[in-house]
Symmetry: C2
Subunit: 209 residues, 2 copies
DNA sequence: AAGTGTATACATGTATACACAAACGCTTCA
DNA sequence: TGAAGCGTTTGTGTATACATGTATACACTT
């Protein structure tokens, strides 16, 4: 039960929607639950805070993040900026072998598309592409932003209703990459993310107001 | 002596070049120095780790980051991406009053340009612009990336040799903004950052062998 | 002589105990 | 009835003590 293990467990619950945004995270409660003292719990909370999933206020404890629709919009804008740039760099480093691998991951993710782990498959696909850019830090930043989004997607139960369109975007991106149409692949990705953003924000505003 | 205070103090030393990249940060040593136990030290190190200034390895302690020229290049590319986007958004929200304030900060930063706190003035100028974009998270990400850069600039003592050009860039950006030439302001900023990047990386490779 | 195993020293990780700050409820007074 | 003041209570923050993991040096084996 290391702090990393605990953080990982909590991260999973956050992203699965078990812990909803704004939930208080009591140190004593978590310590009892994981059967450890509060020290490793504090470390775990700091790890999650570093990832932006938890907010810590001095002397007032930690709670899961709670963002306004505007803040979610900003995060998606950042994702568009960083992911489109990453895709562009990846396209420049594309090889036939890499393309094959990407399409393999895409097909596998299609199967999970209906289940509860659809987000994992989705990310596996995007990561398979982004990896080729060879940008560790950028990828880490993208992943952190994405985690935050997933937290809210799970919380507001906005499973993409237009699943076919969503899978079709993936297919289209691969096809564009195969043909060397970088520009169009990037534009497709941008639309993909825009769609996710507007969908989530609509659900949030509907749920909040 | 809260963890935040300690982190702030260490951050200052890191960015001033007192603590060079790769320095080991012993918990007991820091605890003695700040006159506290190791617990708040651990918290402070986690805060700095979250900011990307310190690396923590389980059971092996913390040390200040040590980046390769390639990683520095990636960081500057990210800064260009995020800062140019931020400038564009700021330009869209520009007002005469804001412009006046920006120029005021610019003039003030010109005075500090020769001293040891030149980095603070430089950042004050850029931040004065970026603020207008109203993007908290993006600004925080830019600031984190910038801090990392400053750490290496200080370590390798690469005070801009071409100070006039550097200050001239600031002046040019303001002038373009005043005329509503967003496109050109963005391009000037990009060149500004590119210049800083190539300069630092050249110094690093020269210093490293 | 080179490599490996082991013992010792040292740094980090964790648990317990205590100090302190904030939130809550109660009493009391206007 | 409402509000302000004060003690209680709950939870976080920190110090101390102990457990565990890692590095170094030395002895031993090959």
């Amino acid at each position: 039960m290391t702090p990393e293990t605990i953080a990982s467990e909590l991260r999973g619950e956050l992203m699965a929607g078990v812990l909803r945004p704004g939930t208080d995270l009591s140190q004593v409660e978590l310590a009892q639950r994981f059967g450890v003292s509060r020290i490793p719990i504090r470390d775990a909370l700091r790890i999650l805070s570093a990832e932006g999933l938890v907010e810590i206020e001095a002397n007032r404890g930690a709670k899961t993040i709670s963002l306004t629709p505007d803040e979610v919009r900003e995060i998606y804008d950042l994702r568009i900026l960083l992911e489109c740039d990453c895709l562009q760099r990846a396209a420049a480093a594309m090889t036939p072998a890499a393309l094959e691998e990407i399409d393999r991951v895409r097909l596998k993710s299609d199967l999970d598309a209906g289940g509860p782990d659809w987000a994992d498959g989705d990310w596996a696909f995007h990561r398979a592409i982004y990896q080729l850019a060879g940008r560790r830090r950028q990828l880490a930043m993208i992943e952190a932003l994405r985690r935050t989004c997933v937290l809210f997607v799970s919380a507001y139960a906005t499973m993409p209703t237009k699943k076919p369109r969503w899978l079709g975007d993936h297919d289209a991106i691969v096809k564009h990459l195969r043909r060397g149409e970088t520009e169009q692949a990037v534009r497709k990705l941008q639309g993909h993310l825009e769609g996710a953003a507007t969908h989530l924000i609509a659900q949030m505003t509907a749920s909040l107001g």
